[in-house]
Symmetry: C2
Subunit: 308 residues, 2 copies
């Protein structure tokens, strides 16, 4: 099979750091074009277009990978599917769950692949954690996801606009891991948000979560205002009293203090493996549960505004 | 077939004004029991229990109709399904979409009917409006839903707590009509909320909506702070320039100024007809789109706080 020719749309940090090098190393894909309103550096042999429409019209691409801010992803994805492209979307796939559901319907109608990606679901710890949780059950879960937004995203401000999700931008990574690991569905029961002056989205969020069989003991703290070392951890207390600890955002996993996984980040290679399989199988994967949980949290939030 | 014996859970205004008289007039059902922590007036021949659990254990009911505030509906519905009951839920069916999805899975597993009701979907205007919109298309839509919360719900305060939805409590009625009428899916693109001192949920909400083929021209205003006459209207500008106007929350419909529907309120009789069909067919109806749109609006909201 000849490589799937990919065009990137929206050339920011995630495109540069993850998509471009991953595509360069994956024989099932070839990065042939990019669309950006700015004038980004372009790898040798890659064509640059001002718009997605011109890029698709060039005939150089079979698929687009949409790396714009989430507020405009729906329109790009819809246009691309209608033009016959397979579509891969960065997380979160759109502003709202209703938009993703419509894209999934459209992908089925036009017979193209839609892949709403959640990169943390491809972290090394997810599959072994899922197996252990299915075998031993969990009576409690504590998500702790904290980092300094100014260190990781200096000068970026779309996070604070409606639809930008604030601290749920990293927080949905944790929620996607949980969706990928837990043998039961999970719900938001309570949410407390802290919102900075001028922002529309929270910088910290504390969630009380539940499953059908555990009404309490499951919680999450997302903190984007954290000045020390980053923490991206999930700790489960297992039904038999054991402790399962995921760290490094999914790069490590320990069971009762013994290392189960300690691996370099291979999320994006795994993500593009999955995209290749979906295209080959004529299938789509439009997972919305992490975005659903975020929207549910907003709908239940008690909001504390930090005085301006 | 002998009547389905129904137990009501949560005896507030909606149970008294709608469920009790509707059940009394419907030969397919018999109201046999009620569960309430208060001591409500009870119709002749109806048993009163302090809890749903005692009511179910009495063996007097085949189905429960859950009319509590939405924050606690999930737990009641889950317990009832696990105890072998069919379950009808007032709108909105739960705090979050994730909870409703889980109840739908559970209903399938236990082989009982779950009916997440949206009473306005049974209003007289919905079916004819759906037919006209499918035939003639709509280029614009304006929802105007305004009333005085203090007139209709004096002294009720769970609306203002997280999960109580504020003005979306009536607003989801409009959204449910739109979901039932429109030939296309609909999304929230922007939302502006006004929140009163001490409240966690909005008293007014202005929404910019869109469909896959109409990026603008669709909007909604929900206003619970309105002192004049109530308005529960939806106006569509049809593709051929015609005007379709729904009024009275779905009791009337006019096309180009001519009356199509002008009928008394028969929403709850229609709703219980549907419940009888679902139970007879061994099916469920767990519609979540109106709640999804509300959650999506919360996740996109620009919030203006009224100073305290």
């Amino acid at each position: 099979m000849s490589p799937i020719r990919v065009g990137l749309v929206g050339i920011g940090e995630i495109a540069r750091v993850q998509h471009i090098p991953t595509l360069a190393a994956d024989g099932d894909f070839r990065l042939t074009a990019m669309a950006s309103r700015s004038k980004p550096a372009v790898p040798d042999g890659v064509a640059l277009f001002a718009t997605q429409g011109e890029m698709i019209a060039s005939g150089l691409v079979d698929a687009v990978a949409i790396c714009t801010p989430p507020q405009v992803r729906y329109g790009f994805a819809r246009d691309a599917l209608l033009a016959g492209m397979h579509v891969l979307m960065e997380k979160p796939p759109a502003q709202t769950v209703a938009e993703v559901d419509d894209l999934a319907r459209l992908a089925g109608t036009v017979g193209r692949t839609l892949f709403a990606t959640w990169h943390s679901m491809h972290s090394a710890a997810v599959v072994p954690a899922r197996r252990i949780l299915a075998e031993r059950g969990a009576v409690a879960m504590r998500i702790l996801w904290r980092e300094d937004v100014h260190k990781f995203h200096p000068g970026v401000d779309w996070f604070w606009q409606p639809g930008g999700m604030g601290v749920f931008d990293p927080g949905v990574n944790a929620l996607s891991i949980v969706v990928g690991c837990l043998p039961e569905p999970i719900f938001v029961r309570e949410a407390r948000f802290r919102v900075m002056p001028g922002a529309h989205t929270p910088i910290t969020a504390a969630l009380e979560l539940a499953t059908p069989t555990h009404g309490s003991g499951y919680s999450a703290l997302f903190d984007w205002d954290h000045k020390g070392e980053e923490t991206w951890s999930i700790d489960w207390t297992l039904s038999d009293g054991g402790l399962l600890s995921l760290g490094g955002g999914g790069r490590s996993l320990a069971l009762d203090g013994r290392t189960v996984v300690d691996a370099p980040d291979r999320e994006y290679p795994g993500l593009y493996r999955r995209f290749a399989e979906l295209v080959r199988d004529g299938a789509s994967d439009a997972e919305t549960r992490p975005l659903q949980l975020a929207a549910d949290a907003f709908s239940l939030a008690r909001i504390e505004r930090v005085p301006g």
